[in-house]
Symmetry: C2
Subunit: 377 residues, 2 copies
């Protein structure tokens, strides 16, 4: 079967680009002397997790380490043979039963907290949780701030019941997404490193074990110069990359591994506009590209076979099942009704989430595999 | 089971509000003398389709008419006993096999086109398709423009092979979403009506059958004063409504029937900020509320039991699995770690699409049913 036979919209994954992106990040981790614990929040696929780890897709040895964004992902990856999983969102007390349940199946699960109240709930559960404390390195989303006395209170509260143990710290420099140069991303990577290492030092000085010092975002993992004291990085979107990542310089347009296959369903010659059957649900309403110099709208329109942009065609507007193709420069649209295009997305994590599975190609148009995703909660 | 036992984030549907919204729209259709062909693109649930039609949820007689936005929805509703279905997006030629396949099971399926090229593909397929021509009434998305000679060319091309037949016209006044007053929505409703009726008249004068004259959006269906010549309306989001619809006046905040249940997972006292476990995936990145006078961010934060807004708390930022709760007026946040909130969404169609199912309540906190959705393509 080839792309032409797919029902549109459909999510296409180019394995060649994925393999190349995955190898590059493994090389970086190797050079920096840290473990790569890839974040599966973007791909949500065990096959892709194995590729990220450098194993064969069907290799049962590809068991981690990985990072997940939901407990459903943790359970799905566990069911596919992964055994070393970090759930990298501060856990809601209502989810501790689920987490303990997975551990009872033998899963080496690590959980995260960043409040004394959360730590007390973890301790009170009475299960042997392995806990990382989240550190705020400047993103000001979650995490304990630099120097905050809460760090040691949280650690003490976690270990208060004698069952749960502190095993490390983790931080995420979300502010790296505001950077536009390799230099500024390298600077944020150093801030991220220092915040994690300082917190780990404080914990160790107070007598807590802290074997994991975990950092990471795709921009900081890509441009970090030195990760002394860090044990692992957790980038995720680098596997696919997207228009936002390409624009800020962590990849090139030709590296983008996921795209949405769509059919042309309308033409409006006078307005030099075409309609495709991929709209807000198929592309997501993510507009992260709006802050870029050349706003790609809801995605760039590409050749269905090569997945290279066609002139400056882009999706300038969406409704639920319609996408509007226009050309800012006025390039005449020659898309025929029924012809296919591929759309490169602003944000691979959000766009991929609309699909149950990837249709995998290897640079060409033949579908070589179908890999399921684990969506929802 | 009650709400407290759900894994968050979860989609909650208040049946009481749904029943009331559904009854109001049936009353309007009755007063206007038109058939209600509810658009299932928002709810994507046969149970909710039956409620929209005024039947019991388990009633096998609730077989239509309904409107769908994807062929997968058509097939799902067919599998649940619905028999009169309009697929209201111009069909891609590559989907004609699917459509013909459903008809071979006895489904009374209507399809749509708005180009001569599309019409030729339909005729060439050789199946007895029933075809509506889409008319542009001012939204300038799809549709044949007022007075365009293409209308009759398309009709002739559809019937050229002797199998497919024209059965009507349909239009959608998407520009009604730009209105802010009942008067302006009533005016757009009249423009929508006239465009559809005029096109139907032209087709009939040229000898084509045109038994269906279909219009509709929630704003125009709500405020239309007269629908002479129209046979059916296709509103959809009215069943749930959302913050955008409430702000433009088609419903009130207390009518909103879907919300996202979330858990508080973080606190930042100094910034008067809390974090919940519902982010961009759970709430969608839809920012349709940004054009309103009081921008709700990514949603309003409500009491978990009553689903009434808590002060002016809202979701001011999201990342994939985090939502940031803030108060523009500085209302002190007293949300405890682990406590639940419900979030009213900007756009019910987009937010609901992230979930496999609705957890149904009846005004209170007891879960009385779980209704599946048909997502994807």
């Amino acid at each position: 079967m080839d792309i032409e036979g797919l029902i549109t919209p459909a999510l296409i994954l180019d394995r060649r680009r994925l393999l190349s992106n995955a190898a590059l990040m493994r090389d970086r981790a190797g050079r920096l002397g840290v473990t790569l614990r890839p974040h599966m929040k973007t791909a949500k696929s065990p096959e892709i997790g194995r590729i990220a780890l450098g194993c064969d897709v069907g290799d049962a040895d590809g068991t981690g380490p990985v990072t997940v964004s939901t407990l459903r992902e943790a359970d799905y990856f566990r069911g596919h043979g992964f055994n070393d999983i970090l759930y990298a969102v501060a856990i809601a007390p209502g989810k501790l039963d689920q987490a303990a349940g997975m551990m009872s199946w033998g899963l080496d699960l690590k959980i995260v907290t960043d409040t004394v109240q959360g730590a007390r709930a973890i301790a009170a559960h009475g299960s042997p949780f392995q806990v990382l404390i989240e550190i705020d390195c400047g993103d000001h989303r979650g995490g304990v701030a630099d120097g905050d006395a809460a760090l040691l209170e949280i650690a003490a509260a976690v270990e208060d019941g004698g069952k749960a143990k502190i095993c490390g710290v983790m931080t995420h420099a979300g502010q790296s997404y505001d950077c536009r140069t390799p230099e500024s991303m390298a600077e944020v990577a150093e801030i991220e490193r220092r915040a994690a290492v300082d917190a780990a030092d404080r914990l160790r000085e107070a007598g807590f074990s802290c074997s994991i010092v975990s950092v990471g975002s795709t921009p900081t993992a890509t441009f970090a110069r030195d990760l002394s004291g860090v044990t692992e990085i957790r980038p995720g979107v680098y596997m696919f990359s997207d228009l936002f990542q390409a624009a800020i310089g962590t990849s090139r347009i030709d590296d983008l591994a996921v795209s949405v296959l769509a059919s042309v369903i309308g033409r409006r010659e006078g307005d030099n506009m075409a309609l495709i059957d991929a709209g807000g649900l198929a592309l997501s309403k993510d507009r992260s590209g709006a802050v870029l110099d050349d706003d790609p709208g809801y995605g760039l329109v590409c050749d269905p076979l090569t997945c290279r942009p066609i002139g400056d065609l882009r999706i300038s507007a969406v409704s639920q099942e319609h996408g509007r193709v226009t050309s800012p420069s006025g390039t005449p649209l020659t898309l025929e009704i029924g012809s296919k295009v591929r759309i490169l997305p602003n944000h691979a994590c959000m766009t991929s989430a609309a699909y149950e599975a990837y249709h995998v190609v290897d640079g060409g148009d033949e579908i070589i595999a179908r890999w399921r995703r684990c969506n929802g909660w």
